[in-house]
């Protein structure tokens, strides 16, 4: 299996989330990952793109989101980069705690961490936030 990559760029609109996630899902499905894992990756990707569009770029259509997907024999790596101010993931509370369970938001990052093997955030020197998610292949 060779290394394959794909890149997408989208404007910060709600409708673009579905379009971009569908394109990434197509790439992931062709990469030989199991259907069950593909479902989880799709969830994580949608949440990452939604976070970038809504919380990062705050639906400012002049700001862009870049998605980079890399399929290798060992793993799938997905990066989503926005032009926002960034945030501290440690400040996100656990949505499964009793005091948070009836909150209407705050589950996106939980899903990303649940379905992917690694999730980390960084702020680029030129600005903007990147989230990098890895799903290791089970050989």
């Amino acid at each position: 299996m060779t290394v394959e990559t794909t890149e997408l760029k989208l404007a910060s609109r709600i409708e673009a989330i579905e379009e971009a996630a569908t394109a990434v899902a197509g790439f992931v499905n062709r990469s030989g990952i199991s259907e069950e894992e593909a479902f989880g990756i799709d969830m994580a990707v949608r949440e990452a793109i939604a976070n970038a569009v809504i919380h990062g770029n705050k639906l400012d259509e002049k700001k862009l989101v870049w998605i980079n997907v890399r399929s290798s024999p060992d793993s799938l790596e997905i990066k989503v980069h926005d032009q926002g101010q960034g945030f501290d993931p440690e400040t996100i509370s656990d949505p499964t705690k009793e005091e948070n369970i009836l909150k209407s938001s705050g589950r996106g990052i939980f899903f990303m961490r649940n379905f992917m093997d690694e999730v980390d955030w960084s702020t680029a020197p030129e600005g903007g936030t990147s989230v990098r998610m890895i799903k290791r292949r089970v050989n």
Partner: protein, 115 residues
């Protein structure tokens, strides 16, 4: 085609919403919120969501289910869920929301569950 189609039927004092499509950020979540608000305004407070046709839901959709639940409870009503797909059941399990929602696999049992 709309992202989420909702059709309504009445069984006694229980309103059943048959939902088909996706409950995701944007159109799907808004459609669910609008339908629940309208029912509450009409005084219909016993609501059964048939989710058999919901093939996909994201964190926004799950948040909308939680908002629906809290809005209906606050208004003195009841919300129950019917026919979850395996994936939705898995998502409600990992978020611990299965402990919050009343979930049924049979419509008659669900209807009997309303007080």
């Amino acid at each position: 085609m709309a992202e989420l189609n909702i059709s309504e039927q009445q069984a006694g004092d229980v309103t059943i919403l048959d939902m088909n499509g996706k409950i995701t950020i944007g159109e799907g979540s808004v459609a669910l919120r609008t339908a629940i608000r309208r029912l509450l305004e009409e005084g219909k407070k016993k609501i059964l969501l048939n989710l058999a046709g919901v093939g996909y839901i994201d964190s926004s959709g799950i948040g909308e289910l939680v908002s629906s639940y809290t809005a209906i409870e606050k208004d003195g009503g009841q919300l129950k869920l019917l026919n979850l797909t395996q994936k939705l059941q898995d998502l409600l399990t990992i978020t611990k929301l299965l402990t919050v929602f009343d979930v049924y696999e049979s419509e008659s049992e669900a209807l009997n569950g309303f007080k």
